[in-house]
Amino acid sequence: MINKILEKIEGKWIFLIIISLAYLIIGFINIALFHKTLIALSKLILKLAPTLAFIFILMFLSDLFFNAKKISKHIGHNSGFKGWLITIIAGIISSGPIYMWYPILSDLKDKGMQNKYIATFLYNRSVKIPLVPMMIYYFGLSFTIIFNIYIIIFSIINGLLVNLFLNLNNHENSNRKC
């Protein structure tokens, strides 16, 4: 019975139900902590609302101006240096939590954005320009410069490795089917 219900509910709803249940369990165990968690949640949602609106506008504009052909040309299979440059810059200047960018990346992936560029974009999110003064304060100027340069360089290696492992996996799967 439960299996049949679970089959009908999509993964995304199961995920939300599990998290909501975790909140309820906290409520049963410790009501004060539950209140604290709910207040923190409302603050977090309010804080993230502008980013969410920004992502919505970006998704709308990308759908309006970039079709699959254009996406493939800039960040597709044979985009080369231009593709790396676009994703590195986009990763560095993108703000807000990483998970807010998943919907637009998923959208772009459907239109032909390569996995290697998605991985590179996500890795470059470790470069936080607005937080550079704070990083210098805590870890020093030399550390900050080296840290950020290495992230940019290794973001490309990260993208290439992700691509390599995914391709190897796909290759193994197709061999097994043969």
Binding site: G11, K12, W13, F15, L16, I18, I19, A22, Y23, I26, L33, T37, A40, L41, L44, I45, L48, L52, F56, M59, F60, D63, L64, P97, I98, Y99, M100, Y102, P103, L105, S106, D107, K109, N115, I118, A119, L122, Y123, R125, S126, K128, L131, M134, M135, Y137, Y138, F139, S142, F143, I146, F147, Y150, I151, F154, N158, L161, V162, F165, L166, N169
Partner: protein
Amino acid sequence: MKLEKAKTSFKKTINSFKQTLPILIGIIMLVNLSITLIPNYFYKTIFTGNIIIDPIIGGTLGGISAGNPIMSYVIGGELIDQNISLIAITSFILTWVSVGIVQLPAEALMLGKKFAITRNIISFFMALFIALLIKFTLSFL
């Protein structure tokens, strides 16, 4: 014609947003839970002082933590004061953003399970390597 295209794009964006909203809400709730339930002092208590184990602990802690990267800098700064190795702290602040165990279900649902797992594993080991490399480079300056 252009207005028609804009309307269609707007509808498509709303639909695609509706599809991802349960995942986004779920992940925001999960991140909030981890921020509220894991106190900052927890991070200080878990390091051992071992130069090989500490970077792995740092990377793992960063990977399971969520929230604003400022927090990782603040915690990292406090850990420096407690003589925790720079390699461990660097891997901690690197995996804080590049590895997301809390966000993994959302990443898997939206970008694919294989992609999410592969990317997170590679990013974890890469963080350890970069942390070593930074320490090595700094020793020459």
